[in-house]
């Protein structure tokens, strides 16, 4: 717990240093997603295959896209930049904190920061898009957002630990983002893809989480297996990342 509090305090201090630019980005990101994705797609799609209004269907996906951007700064800074350049990660590794606690601490900090951004983004989205969710639905959405962030955050952590150059890190992050947006059913349904490709994409862990959320929101039905598989993957990734951290810091 000390570790998480220390990471959170540290992150808050850092965010205070650039509060203005952060707030601008937090408000601009949902506006851009609305203008460049929602407006054109909503004129084409209008309702999903399950006859759900496109705004209702797409909002969880939009929030998941915003959460991706919220995760990057903390993870990039702590595990890539300050590992390779500033070396400021190393004093933390010398404290009596295990590597798994460091990975969890950074992940939780990134998720908390992202949740704050998501709350602001949600307000902006609700001003722009008509949705028919009840308050309990928003709680469910945020619960699944946390799971999705834990999964994708771990993937970015692994990349940040393994990459040695920013010219490797950045293109791979963009590639992950492309798969995340277009391959996880965030803005298009899998029925839009050729059958075999759609069938494969459906089983991506990120797709399972989003599909599970939509099933709850729109049918009130909970599918255990598609919930437990991503959870298992998240736990495995946390353990793997702690081993990778131990390896890269040679401790």
């Amino acid at each position: 717990m000390n570790t998480v509090i220390a990471f959170l305090k540290r992150r808050w201090w850092l965010t205070q240093e650039r509060l203005f630019s952060t707030l601008i980005l937090v408000f601009i990101t949902p506006v851009i997603l609305y203008l460049l994705i929602h407006l054109p797609l909503n004129t084409i799609i209008v309702r999903s295959v399950r006859n759900i209004p496109y705004g209702d269907w797409a909002l969880p996906g939009y929030l998941m896209i915003v959460s991706f951007f919220g995760l990057i700064p903390t993870i990039y800074r702590d595990l890539f930049e300050l590992r390779l350049h500033g070396k400021a990660l190393f004093p933390i590794t010398l404290t009596p904190v295990s590597k798994i606690e460091i990975v969890m601490g950074i992940l939780i900090t990134a998720i908390v920061e992202s949740i704050v951004y998501l709350l602001f983004s949600l307000i902006v989205f609700l001003m722009l898009i008509d949705v028919s969710y009840r308050w309990f639905d928003f709680l469910t959405i945020f619960f699944y957002l946390i799971i999705q962030m834990a999964l994708i955050g771990n993937v970015i952590i692994m990349l940040a630990l393994l990459a040695k150059r920013v010219t490797t890190f950045l293109p791979v992050v963009l590639l992950i983002l492309a798969v995340y947006i277009f391959g996880s059913g965030m803005i298009f349904e899998f029925e839009f893809y050729p059958a075999q490709i759609g069938e494969i994409l459906k089983y991506l862990p990120t797709s399972l989480i989003l599909e599970n959320l939509r099933t709850i929101l729109f049918t009130r039905y909970f599918i255990w297996w598609s919930f437990l598989i991503p959870i298992g993957i998240i736990i495995s990734l946390v353990i793997a990342n702690s081993k990778i951290l131990r390896y890269v810091v040679k401790q």
């Binding site: 220390a6 850092l14 190393f90 295990s98």
Partner: protein, 309 residues
Amino acid sequence: MEASITLKKVGKLAGDKTILAGLTFGVEKGSMVAIIGDNDAGKSTLLRVMAGFENPEFGSVFIHGLDSIKRRREIRSMVGYVPLESDLDPWLTLDKNIRCIGYFYGINDHTINNRISKYNEVLKLDDFLNVQAGELSPGIQKKGMLVRALIHDPSVLILDEPTAFMDATSNRQTWDLLNTLKQNKTVIYVSHVLSEVEQSHDRILILHHGKVILDGSLDKLLESTLDFNQFQIEFEELSDDLYNRLIKIPGIVTPSKLNNIFHFYGRSRAIFFKVLTEAHEIKMNDLNFKKLGLKDLLDSQFARKGLDG
């Protein structure tokens, strides 16, 4: 004396190259140990291994009797480490850099404040604590790193070039603090500033190609290996005949000739007078004599081969 740190056959490799070659030694509790040696001798690696910053490829490091790998978590609280270059978070203030590490050790704000003020009294960091670390000079950053390493009150302090990048005032403040800390902490440091090492040590380890080649206090080292004086006489003309006569004088060690300058070592000053007597008929332009110190010990090959060797 109780051992604070014990190394048993500690080895470290970098590819095919041996960085630390099976080091075995102990460091007494409450002592100040200086590690010196050439560049690439393995000094910083040795510090990193002792601090738990890196694991040895073979052998074991024990801190207060605890294996540094098997009991890593407990060891972390006993050791404070200051690396050579700044590893402060450049976007956090110096105060927050120190405070943050304190939180990772589970220390409360009250204790952190007390410790920062205590060390601040000696190191005079008042004007810099609320400045972003990235904007501070490297010398101030180094002082901040020292406070950060002390924030959890470790019993062993490991420092890589403790006064690197510092001006004279900061240098003095840092040594004042370290000499005070020595009373109840074990301090191990690497330095290239030999005058500092001569002033502040209980013991000196000289490292060469990953091995400890000399170990002891300065007096002991100089006595056992270098109880020599260095002499230099500049003649008006130093002929080969005279040079050959001079080098045959018993007690003259490693003589050399550069133009008209005769350079040699000897254990006693009497040898110098023997040379003067032998060369009395030749006009001398200059005489030079000095007792050898740590710098000479490192500069020369004595440490490796022995003066007589």
